[in-house]
């Protein structure tokens, strides 16, 4: 069930109402039941897979209180990674495994191994790993309540694509949910509305304006269009995921359980380090705490001199490569992670040479320029994120080659557009329209970002008439865009 469907909202509303009507002792079982029902709308088999994974992690967590912690921890990590590899990457090994089995005389066509990846498994895997690590290091006690632990895996608002929650904090919120109030209701609905606007209004529309063959055959298009569409893709990706997170945080908040913030206006970041504190925050924090810091600590033991180049090179590169691999076991994802690793290394080298300055200390103009520079680099890195490395290179060539920028033609089209837009739309429309389409959705997105830059709920400070006008315009825009066939699943659900 898509979380932007009217059916989801209708079911969620009924579910939440029933939740608060139930006696407190029945609320957690109710949450688990509802979460399983939600999961079953994708596939009932996923319930079983998650049951096994959750049960094993529950058991391992309890065992971590006893001896041989290290062994159990590694067994748990390998188990979780193994499950992820088994389901997520079966396309890689299924043909070879089939061939091997048939050599043994066991008939197993690749169809028999045509497994469906359980939704949200990548997110779940790293949550369970962090739970085991935290328990083994004594940061949190092992969770004994099987119901609470099961909800850590199944809780439906965070099931599909996070946010990635830390076990200790999440267990606490489950046990002591916030009481319903008018203020909580308003804020939750505000999160849902902004999330819906980001997903349905901005992300779906930006995705729809990208040609179907853009990411297969970018060589067909001139440089200016490639640039405009890359901008559109960058904002589509961001609004898609940020929109999803807003909706699920809003729904969860209505149940009294706050989920972590995942985005804080990332495209306004003035350096790459800041970008990763604003983009997919729950994953970035996880990577920082479970890859970057352990790696740095390990290196410090081996190379105590802090200025040793390995401290500058290895932790960011390794962290970003792991991030890439988490998104997908492919060369292009590795490239995406590697590129971001290099950005971070470069930034560290520059800060070593020029001295570290917080982004907010820079002059205003330089802050804007830095943000634009960071955005351009991040947008270029989305190329291998979206397409295979060869095609990404083609895209980059088309984007940067001066021969692919027929500016003289553009002047003609622009003149035609200004002078005679009514009479010869076939000459200017394919050139000008993508720019207008992109601007129509990127600019409102930037306005929204500006609004939420300091306060996620700034909208709630407005006077009621202004809130009303905004909601009315939003509803009208949604109504008109709903007439377009642009429905698309959440991009991050694929991970």
């Amino acid at each position: 069930m898509s979380i932007t469907s009217p059916l989801f909202f209708a079911c969620a509303a009924l579910f939440i109402l029933a939740h608060w009507k139930l006696p407190p002792r029945l609320r957690l079982p109710w949450l688990l039941l509802g979460s399983m029902a939600f999961l079953a709308t994708w596939s009932w088999q996923f319930i079983l897979v998650l049951l096994v994974v959750t049960a094993v992690n529950y058991g391992l967590g309890l065992r971590l209180a006893g001896p041989r912690k290290r062994l159990i921890l590694w067994a748990g990590i390998l188990f979780n990674l193994g499950v992820l590899l088994f389901f997520k990457y079966h396309r890689f090994y299924a043909p070879a495994l089939s061939a091997f089995l048939s050599r043994l005389g066991i008939a197993a066509g690749t169809g028999a191994l045509g497994l469906l990846m359980p939704v949200g498994l990548s997110f779940l895997t790293i949550q369970f790993i962090s739970y085991l690590v935290d328990v083994s290091q004594g940061r949190i006690p092992p969770e004994k309540d099987a119901l609470v632990f099961a909800l850590y895996g199944y809780y439906f608002p965070k099931l599909l694509s996070g946010p990635i929650e830390r076990a200790g904090e999440f267990f606490g919120r489950l046990r002591a949910p916030a009481a319903p109030s008018g203020e909580r209701l308003t804020r939750s609905l505000s999160l849902i509305l902004v999330g819906l606007a980001r997903k349905v209004l901005l992300a779906d529309s930006l995705n729809a304006l990208l040609p179907a063959d853009l990411f297969e055959n970018p060589g067909l298009y001139p440089g200016p269009l490639l640039a405009v569409w890359l901008l559109a893709y960058a904002f589509a990706l961001y609004n898609d995921f940020a929109g999803y997170t807003g909706i699920v945080r809003g729904v969860s908040a209505l149940l009294g359980i706050d989920l972590n913030l995942n985005f804080r206006v990332p495209y306004f970041a003035r350096n790459f380090t800041e970008f990763w504190t604003r983009w997919h925050i729950s994953l970035s924090n996880w990577l920082r705490d479970y890859i970057f810091f352990p790696c740095s600590r390990f290196l410090l033991k081996r190379f105590p001199r802090r200025s040793h180049p390995i401290h500058i090179l290895l932790p960011p590169l390794l962290t970003m490569l792991v991030s890439g691999l988490w998104h997908g076991l492919s060369w292009n994802m590795l490239l995406w992670g590697g590129v971001h690793g290099l950005y971070l290394i470069l930034e560290r080298v520059i800060s070593l040479v020029k001295g570290r300055r917080a982004p907010g200390e820079l002059p205003g103009g330089l802050q804007v320029l830095s943000a634009l520079g960071v955005f351009a680099c991040v947008a270029l890195a989305w190329l291998p994120f979206r397409m295979d490395a060869t095609t990404a290179l083609q895209y980059l060539q088309g984007l940067l080659s001066p021969a692919n920028w027929p500016l003289a033609e553009y002047k003609i089209y622009l003149a035609r557009f200004v002078a005679a837009y009514r009479y010869s739309p076939e000459t200017w429309m394919p050139w000008i329209l993508p720019l207008l389409q992109t601007a129509a959705f990127v600019l409102p997105g930037l306005f929204l970002d500006r609004l939420q830059y300091r306060d996620e709920f700034a909208f709630l400070k407005w006077k009621p008439w202004l809130q009303g006008l905004t909601l009315a315009l939003l509803a009208l825009a949604l109504l008109l865009l709903a007439l377009t066939d642009t429905g698309a699943p959440f991009i991050y659900q694929g991970f």
Partner: protein, 348 residues
């Protein structure tokens, strides 16, 4: 959920939202209905149906009726009728032979069979009360298995369903809101393929004549090699030999006749003069004579008339298996007009 902001009264915001929404929607609707809009807004309108050729015809007929005070003869059928019948030829023939004007409009819609035309006829008879319905048909119209996707999509459209008596909110809105009708032709403006599809729409909106005829722009001449290609095509070797005259379609033909009779209109079914090669393809259970017999036997008891295609249209009049070129359309229209002259005198 920490924030420094404090929410204002949410019910007030909701009240304002509803108020502003109604004001905005009302303002846009008022603007679309104003005399200014008539002169300044684009003339293209839509009900949100993705079969835009159907919509071009619908609004074309609306304009035709506004200009001529009504329509006497409606031509129904599929793309063969669309490109095969020029109502102006029939009108000129009537003027020449009787000195009386007759209003003829071609409502041939691509991809529609008898099944879809039955639904369409209900809409058109209700709306325009023509005196004659001419349904241009071929053997495929009687094949129960012939269910094109385009027809299914057209019939499941909210506006069409609404006009056929099934209430849908979207259908009601599209039917009553002038502002939406002005916006809907551009509803896919966010899509990458919008320029292409929109030019196609504009091109056809301009090419289709005032009386609904869409002349075929092909200049193909079917030589022997092309005819052999048709003879070897899957349509000829696989589809036509398997065609059967379905009881369901014959029932729909009776329903169409009853519908026309109820509205006081006469139903004439004209056989489409398809490429003669098609008859060579009918090697299965059904041949042309079976089709003609089924038509006559079904229509005659209810007062309907079947007009078999006259011989005389050469292969060169066709562009493919089924469609006529301009010359072919002119010839077929004349044949049809002459037959109509003997069957119908306008009452206006």
């Amino acid at each position: 959920m920490t924030s420094t902001s404090s929410p204002k009264r949410p019910l007030h915001s909701l009240f304002f939202a509803i108020l502003f929404f109604l004001a905005l929607a009302g303002g846009l609707e008022g603007a679309a209905r104003s005399s200014w809009a008539a002169g300044h807004l684009p003339r293209y309108r839509s009900f949100g149906n993705d079969h835009y050729q159907f919509e071009i015809k619908w609004f074309g007929l609306e304009r035709y009726v506004a200009r001529h005070g009504g329509v006497d003869v409606l031509i129904l059928g599929n793309s063969m009728a669309n490109t095969g019948v020029d109502p102006d030829v029939i009108t000129a023939l009537y003027a020449e032979q009787t000195g009386r004007p007759v209003g003829v409009y071609n409502f041939g819609v691509e991809g529609l069979t008898l099944h879809g035309n039955l639904a369409l006829a209900a809409l058109l008879l209700e709306e325009y009360q023509p005196e004659v319905l001419v349904f241009v048909a071929d053997v495929r119209d009687l094949d129960d298995a012939n269910l094109p996707n385009s027809e299914a999509r057209l019939l499941s459209d909210p506006w069409v369903r609404y006009r056929l008596g099934e209430w849908t909110l979207a259908g009601w809105l599209f039917d009553h809101s002038q502002a939406l009708q002005v916006y809907l032709p551009y509803r896919n403006w966010v899509r990458a393929d919008f320029p292409d599809t929109f030019y196609n729409y504009l091109y056809r909106a301009v090419t289709i004549t005032e009386s609904g005829y869409e002349p075929d722009t092909n200049t193909i001449t079917l030589d022997e090699a092309a005819l052999n290609e048709i003879r070897n095509s899957a349509a000829c070797t696989q589809y036509y030999p398997q065609i059967e005259i379905g009881a369901g379609r014959l029932e729909e033909l009776r329903a169409l006749l009853a519908l026309a009779n109820r509205h006081g209109a006469r139903l004439i079914v004209a056989e489409m003069p398809v490429n003669p090669v098609v008859y060579e393809c009918m090697t299965g259970a059904v041949n042309r004579a079976d089709f003609q017999q089924a038509m006559t036997e079904t229509l005659a008891p209810g007062g309907g008339i079947f007009l078999p295609a006259e011989p005389g249209l050469p292969v060169e009049a066709h562009i493919d298996m089924h469609h006529l070129n301009r010359q072919g359309a002119a010839a077929f229209s004349r044949q049809l007009g002459l037959a109509l002259l003997g069957l119908y005198t306008p009452s206006r």
